[in-house]
């Protein structure tokens, strides 16, 4: 296997996700694991397309935890490896993630996590930097697509240098923004082989105490590393008028700004309108570079922190005791605590006059997303609605996928959507306290991801619930990735955990079957035990792609040789 050339022949217009994927290939990774989830999906899709050519093992996994554990095994054998996921996926992978900080990481282990501030396609806007800090692992935060490429490569080297996993934290605008990315030379990892010190991989208490101490002892070296990456203070805006910039507090400047990640661009957007020089420090790596931050603070009367996500850096600067330099940001209301940063919100935070904007007519009707015409989920919801007619108390718990739209008109069927697999456990809990019939609606991929274990609980306690598995034979919302197992395995799994075969049914989710499916539901809702109804029909988008023989078609002119982009806008993105 010889790999001399970079995965990219020349600069290309790339999504941040694509840039990460190419960075992984150019860093010589041997394996990659993922579960689809917006805005991270295109990382793995791009890798998968090129994996064979590069001799890389690339596997979609059952969920983020299993993906992470496979990555850990590869790293233990000294291979460079990627695991990628969306932010809430890291919650699923938290157990291996946190513990992997203690073991003796060998081959670079890079975990790329895509946060979704503004919740374009997610149920929360948690900030993964907090979790990197929690696990005490270094974190890199790209400000643009070029940095997404460069930092991903860097992350492998850092992981090997310090013997820890390294997080690359992306946000939606980096993942799904496009700009020109210039590739670097191809590098590689070491030879595959078993660890010399196997005790570094066995977290028995005696070993774990030693390894935890070792991780804590390495924090100083990690801080030195991030300190070295901090770019130092640059003075932006009109130069030469320093005296005018001086504050009443005696600082050299009235205001200094700290940015992290993409906030740097939003600041740059407003620099032409600054009327005074503004010292600026950009932070792209954590643990945070305290020395560089102190150096900036020493020159200013007040600090403004601009960061996408939680006020993570801001809180560390602010603390709870009075500081020498007041800190403005999200916690004092200078910027909103929720939603995405924008060039406009940063403009306001800088105290610049708002721009004149055109008026949007009042009362425009919203255009929410909806299930595709002909979608099999529509028929399942018709049937559930019909089956529940006349019931006095009932609940239908929901899950994560296209079918979550069943909570909206015209269906209004689902009463919950919390996290992957929650529908099954929540239906059991509702049933346990007497709200019956209790239905759980869950997609095939979500069921395989996290729905089987709560089903075991229901079987163990013979809880009256009816689980409706919507089997469209694909991971629909994120762009028709294959489910980890074929749909033919669903019923054997259900039977295997012990659901009574007399109460397991498969029916085609089709307009002509709505009555029959409703009848089946009524029958099983009356049964005082666990029942499972699998509603089967292929996703209409998958079917269309299959028929036109263009699965994963990539006619995007901008994508060209490099990109794994799906240009059918219906086909890309979405919550798993």
């Amino acid at each position: 296997m010889t790999r001399k050339l970079s995965s990219l022949a020349e600069p290309r217009l790339l999504l941040g996700d694509e840039a990460v994927a190419l960075g992984v290939l150019d860093a010589g990774a041997a394996a990659a694991y993922a579960y689809p989830g917006t805005p991270s999906t295109e990382i793995f899709e791009t890798l998968e397309q090129r994996a064979h050519r590069h001799g890389v093992t690339a596997h979609w996994c059952a969920n983020e935890k299993t993906a992470y554990e496979q990555a850990l095994g590869a790293s233990m054998m000294n291979a460079r490896v990627l695991v990628s996921m969306k932010h809430v996926g890291l919650n699923v992978a938290m157990d291996p993630f946190v513990n992997s900080a203690l073991v003796g990481i060998r081959g670079g282990l890079v975990v790329v996590v895509a946060d979704d501030p503004g919740m374009h396609s997610s149920q929360n806007e948690q900030d993964s930097r907090v979790l990197a800090d929690f696990a005490r692992v270094p974190c890199l935060e790209p400000a643009d697509q070029q940095e997404a490429y460069d930092m991903t490569r860097e992350a492998f080297a850092v992981s090997e240098r310090f013997g820890v996993p390294v997080m690359v934290r992306l946000v939606t605008r980096v993942c799904h923004g496009r700009s020109l990315v210039r590739p670097g030379p191809l590098t590689g990892g070491g030879p595959v082989g078993k660890p010399d010190s196997p005790r570094d991989w066995v977290l028995l208490p005696a070993n774990a105490r030693r390894l935890w101490r070792g991780l804590l002892d390495r924090q100083e070296a990690l801080r030195d590393w991030s300190e070295g990456l901090a770019a130092g203070v640059r003075v932006l805006g009109p130069q030469g008028a320093r005296t005018a910039a001086g504050g009443e507090g005696g600082g050299e400047f009235r205001l200094g700004v700290v940015t992290t990640g993409i906030a740097r661009g939003y600041l740059a957007e407003n620099v032409p309108d600054l009327d005074a020089p503004l010292p600026h420090l950009h932070v792209g790596a954590y643990p945070l570079p305290a020395g560089a931050l102190r150096a900036l603070a020493a020159r200013v009367d007040r600090l403004l922190v601009l960061e996408e996500g939680y006020p993570f850096l801001e809180r560390q600067l602010r603390g709870v005791l009075p500081g020498t330099v007041p800190v403005a940001g999200k916690e004092d209301g200078t910027l909103p605590l929720d939603g995405e940063l924008t060039p406009d919100s940063v403009r306001a935070a800088l105290g610049l006059a708002p721009r004149t904007v055109g008026a949007i007519p009042e009362g425009l009707p919203a255009r929410p997303p909806q299930l595709c015409p002909g979608c099999p989920h529509r028929d399942a919801y018709e049937a559930i609605g019909l089956a529940l007619q006349g019931e006095e108390t009932w609940t239908v718990t929901g899950d994560i996928g296209c079918y979550t739209l069943g909570a909206l008109p015209p269906f209004g069927t689902l009463e919950s959507c919390v996290c992957m697999g929650a529908s099954v456990g929540m239906a059991k809990g509702a049933s346990d306290v007497g709200v019956r019939p209790a239905l759980a609606v869950i997609g095939d991929s979500t069921f395989l991801h996290s729905g089987v274990t709560p089903l075991m609980d229901a079987v163990a306690h013979r809880t009256p619930i009816t689980v409706v598995v919507l089997d469209n034979e694909t991971v629909g919302m994120t762009g028709q990735q294959p489910t980890v197992l074929p749909d033919s395995r669903l019923v054997p799994i259900v039977l295997g955990v012990g659901v009574d075969p007399n109460h397991v049914h498969t029916i085609e989710a089709h307009p002509r079957n709505v009555e029959a499916m409703a009848a089946l539901l009524r029958e099983e809702m009356a049964y005082p035990g666990v029942s499972v109804i699998v509603g089967v029909r292929e996703c209409v988008v998958s079917a269309r792609k299959r028929r036109s023989g263009e699965r994963r078609a990539a006619p995007a002119p901008s994508a060209g040789e490099s990109a794994g982009r799906t240009t059918d806008p219906v086909a890309s993105g979405g919550e798993p």
Partner: protein
């Protein structure tokens, strides 16, 4: 020189494809290019919006500040109204007049069009008719891109090359239809 463009429409209309074509033409023209896309849930027949920024100088980020877009390129009349706050006072609107009525409370079309006609700098395109005449109803997005082409710092010949290469995988007929739609869009579209 810079051109900041907001593109909008309804999921499935080809907003991202149109943006991709113009972006690639910008790259080939030696410009700095940045593009912001929204993938995911909104695309299920919902409102879709993208940004495209072309400049001869480095560009700070994907997002266009409100009140500064030079062009609002819209594939759907009602969606056009949703993004008017992005437009610079001197900005142009190039919009399709063909409604996508996938919501129960779509206002009377004439009211929507009346608002569009009242805009000082606008080009309204009967994009579906142009695309149909060109040979593919799917080419309406390219027709609107054609109508906007003269407002952008892009070479029409380069855009045609990008269209040709980009759609080649789908066959010569699709390429021809898109080229025709682009050309006719340019003809009925914005003056230089």
């Amino acid at each position: 020189m810079k051109a900041d463009v907001i593109l909008c429409g309804v999921g499935g209309q080809g907003v991202l494809s149109a943006a991709g074509i113009l972006a690639e033409a910008g790259v080939r023209g030696g410009l700095h290019v940045r593009m912001g896309e929204v993938h995911g849930m909104a695309q299920r027949g919902g409102a879709v919006q993208a940004s495209l920024r072309l400049s001869d100088a480095p560009i700070a980020g994907e997002l266009v500040p409100r009140g500064t877009a030079d062009l609002l390129l819209s594939l759907e009349p009602l969606e056009t109204l949703r993004y008017l706050d992005w437009l610079a006072p001197s900005g142009w609107v190039v919009a399709s007049t063909d409604p996508v009525r996938n919501i129960p409370d779509y206002p009377p079309l004439e009211e929507v069009l009346e608002r569009l006609r009242a805009l000082p700098r606008r080009v309204l395109v009967e994009a579906a008719a142009v695309a149909r005449a060109a040979g593919s109803t799917h080419a309406a997005n390219v027709a609107v891109a054609g109508a906007a082409a003269r407002l952008l710092p892009l070479d029409a010949a380069v855009i045609r090359d990008v269209i040709t290469e980009g759609f080649m995988e789908k066959g010569v007929k699709v390429v021809d239809a898109n080229l025709k739609a682009f050309q006719e869009g340019m003809r009925v579209g914005a003056p230089a």
